[in-house]
Amino acid sequence: METYKLTVNGQQKEVTVDPGTPLLWVLREDLKMTGTKYGCGIAACGACTVHVAGIATRSCVVPVSLVGDRPIVTIEGIAQDPVGRAVQDAWVSADVVQCGYCQSGQIMGAVALLKSTQKPTDTNIEESMGGNICRCGTYVRIRQAIKSASQQLNSGGAA
């Protein structure tokens, strides 16, 4: 067991866990932040996506010991970010979700995309979001919502 100091959604957290514990389980079980989902456990589905130092990261395969002092942002904190808020609102407006289990990861992926590419094309979206799997097949509305959030952000509509 080791003790780690983590910055999660701007807050300092301390956990004492096995160094090999994936960040996902530290978030879900030690910090009780269950918005980040466990899907495949092998970085193949994207349900566990969080931001580590701004980069969309599959938290199910990142041992907590490798996080260091990089700030972590999860679905619970993404609304503090104007891009995050715009994406969430676009998701609700387009009624993207169905079962919703993958959507935390989808939203985290979409926010990372819009931060690096302000006006993503269909190809950008497919390349960037291809690793986020949705069993319900909400991909068409995901694409619509990303474009609508992009439009909103680029028209200066985001507060």
């Binding site: 389980w25 269950t34 466990y38 009624d95 979700v97 169905q98 079962c99 959507q103």
Partner: protein, 327 residues
């Protein structure tokens, strides 16, 4: 399917008493119309609710919010919105005030056709359309009856719209204000259903009720449940239906700190599985990965299409449950 028609006279009285108690406990109307207990059990006085409020479908809160219990799991098919739409339409409820809740485990929430509490086979609407319409219509009738009694007018002179009962001479009352009185009204045996042309919600496009909590991480899925002192179990399942362990070496698995127990359990699809119980998921996962299991495949069932077909033929000739009988 058991409906209000199955209530014996004596039972209706105790039923009303229950509804009255519910109204006091929750502050509002709780309508509970479907008690799927056999008549014998009802006559023996066992029809009282075991836990509050598992056999309720509609809860009108004093602030006007109406909580509708959804007797299915929401897994993407939209049932958390569509079943409330059906009930709210017949009830003439204000859609903007509707909240949906996934019902707990209880007999009343069983699928009317399958007779078990489940979701699947595209049956949510097919099996519960009539059920939710009747629930809405009966709830509406009880609210109207309460208003009519208050105003000393015939119920036929009242109409309803957007969670309000309108009576003669410009009188009106909100559902929320009628809820307590309505809870003391007898549950009607039947209530008229709308003509499809009068539907306000059914067949119209509405926004999903579950979008926002699924976009901010706040919606609790089964895996998110966290109870005090809760343990986590992971199961090493047979690699083939019907297989069982010949031997299990769990020495290395038990040495993982935080493992509470390891034992064999019956597998869902016949055969035997090995369960690992631990303090956390990651502990259980590490322990499960360290299990050494020698699987015995000798009892694995060989599938035979012609045998299966004959079995289905026989099953098709046995009587089933009736969900809806058209007149």
């Amino acid at each position: 399917m058991t409906a209000a028609t199955n209530f014996a006279n004596g039972l209706s009285i105790s039923r009303r008493r229950f509804l009255g108690v519910s109204a006091t406990a929750a502050g509002g109307l709780i309508v509970s119309l479907y008690l799927n207990l056999p008549l014998a059990a009802q006559e023996a006085g066992q029809a009282k609710p075991r836990v509050y409020p598992p056999d309720a479908f509609v809860h009108i809160k004093p602030d006007g919010k109406i909580v509708i219990q959804v007797n299915r799991l929401e897994f993407g098919q939209g049932v958390q919105t569509s079943l409330p739409m059906i009930l709210a339409d017949e009830m003439d409820a204000d859609w903007s005030q509707i909240e949906a809740e996934l019902a707990p485990a209880a007999d009343v929430y069983k699928d009317p056709l399958y007779g078990i509490q489940m979701v699947g086979g595209s049956g949510s609407i097919a099996h519960s359309f009539q059920q939710y319409r009747e629930l809405g219509a009966k709830t509406r009738a009880m609210l109207v009856a309460a208003a009519a009694e208050q105003w000393k007018v015939p119920a036929s002179q009242c109409r309803t719209e957007a969670s309000v009962v309108h009576g003669p001479a410009g009188r009106s009352a909100k559902y929320a204000d009628l809820a307590d009185a309505a809870a003391h009204m007898p549950v009607p045996e039947t209530a008229p259903l709308k003509k499809p042309a009068d539907f306000r919600l059914i067949g119209k496009k509405v926004r999903r009720l579950d979008s926002r909590p699924k976009c901010d991480g706040s919606l609790k899925f089964g895996l998110d449940l966290d109870l005090p002192g809760m343990k986590v179990a992971l199961v090493a399942r047979p690699p083939i239906f019907g297989a069982s362990p010949r031997s299990v070496d769990d020495k290395a698995a038990r040495s993982v700190p935080g493992v509470a127990d390891i034992f064999e359990i019956p597998s869902v699809s016949r055969g035997t599985a090995v369960a690992v119980v631990a303090d956390k998921f990651w502990t259980a996962k590490q322990a499960r990965d360290r299990l050494q299991i020698d699987w015995d495949l000798s009892k694995v069932e060989g599938a035979d299409s012609s045998q299966l077909r004959e079995k289905y033929r026989q099953l098709a000739r046995t009587p089933g449950n009736c969900c809806h009988r058209s007149r």
